[in-house]
Amino acid sequence: MTRFLLTTALISGLAASAQAQNSTIPTFDTGQSQSGQIPTFGTTEPSANQIPTFGTAAAPTPAMGGNVLASDPARVLALVQEAGLVATLTVDGVGDPKIESEVSETPFGIYFYGCTDNTACTNLQFAAGYDLANGITLQAINDWNASKRYAFAYADEEFDPFLNMDVSLDFDGIGPENLKDLIALWRLQVEDFEDHIGW
């Protein structure tokens, strides 16, 4: 094994994927936000179109100001709902917070990690799994991971595919609009992944 060498193919390949991703993954950027219209994907509820945007004339309430942390599951839930998803807050098998939601009729979970005594969690994992009759090939999993960002895939021991996206909300957290951007990205990735695996 020759360690620590990067290939020109790698760098140009990554840059190529950067171009492709730039053109296919929308970010809710200032131009769109200022119009007050947030683009929707798939089955977004129409009522989700009108969302006050952070830092604009539609000022957020003080309770919604500042960065979002995984230690505040109710606020994470509210942001998931603001992003246009139906979601409920529950607990997972060990008592940590868990948000249950769905994209295009596919249920998925947002699991809270790094918790202490089921509170003060530090990060999230979005996770969706698919029970395929014939499983998935590792080649298909690899093709996904080579071409996509943020949400990555693996196959379990039965070769059923899973899609995960990890979000750190530790320390001073992330901006609420940044989290909603990731949620919108997750929606797109789930839909793309289902096409990719033939779901």
Partner: protein
């Protein structure tokens, strides 16, 4: 609190690493002047968030953390920040930029040249067990590790960003340890891949990485159970 922290350590840390881990954990606690209010109840202001970045900002933050870093401007269409830590080289690719300013996302990436490639099942195991990083095989069946950071719109907190930089170091070390036991790639007939090696691109850093020790980041970003 350290009782919860210690089980997350993965066994490769020296006592010095552990000491720094504790110091960093302490530094993250609110100071006495903050009063008894918990961090959870105090949303941080987002006006100091990391967002709308450019190559110089990323280079500066890498240097501040303890990485070697420089910017490769040689290809105006392909500007990357190159990083170096211990003996690992990596690139930080900036996404969503306008003339290499106001970038909205980053991808950290590093690759390894294996003359016989790597077994995809071995990589799948790592992806199944590891969070925040993603691995794949390139066209030569060589492994590539990536980590994506979204900095769009209102961005992410400064300390959170710094934590990601430490996480990347952790992921690289963990991935390299995993690669130490990687079986070769085999074709459909079970034969070992003998594809020619790639052209290598060397990042020619001189000198050494800054004298910085890194905390284990399991307590913050790792699935510890």
């Amino acid at each position: 609190m350290f009782g919860a922290f210690l089980p997350c350590l993965r066994g490769r840390l020296s006592d010095m690493d552990l000491m720094f881990a504790l110091l960093i954990a302490l530094a993250a606690l609110p100071s006495p002047s903050d009063g008894p209010v918990s961090v959870a109840q105090m949303p941080s202001p987002s006006d100091s968030n990391i967002k709308l970045v450019d190559p110089e900002m990323i280079q500066a933050m890498l240097l501040d953390y303890g990485y070697e870093a420089r910017i490769d401007w040689s290809d105006p269409d392909d500007v990357v920040v190159e990083g170096y830590l211990d003996q690992t080289q990596f690139v930080v690719i900036l996404y969503g930029c306008e003339a290499w300013t106001a970038c909205t996302g980053l991808e950290f990436a590093t690759g390894y040249d294996f003359p016989q490639g790597v077994d995809p099942a071995h990589l799948n195991d790592w992806n199944r067990d590891t969070r925040f990083g993603a691995a794949y095989l390139d066209e030569q069946n060589d492994p590539v590790l990536t980590m994506d950071m979204n900095l769009a719109i209102d961005g992410i907190g400064r300390e959170n960003f710094r934590d990601w930089l430490g996480l990347w170091h952790f992921l690289v070390e963990d991935f390299e340890a995993h690669l130490d036991t990687a079986p070769p790639h085999r074709d459909e007939e079970g034969l070992v891949d003998l594809a020619e090696d790639d052209t290598v691109y060397e990042i020619g850093f001189e000198g050494h990485v800054h004298d910085t020790l890194f905390a284990d980041h399991c307590a913050h970003l790792w699935a510890c159970r």
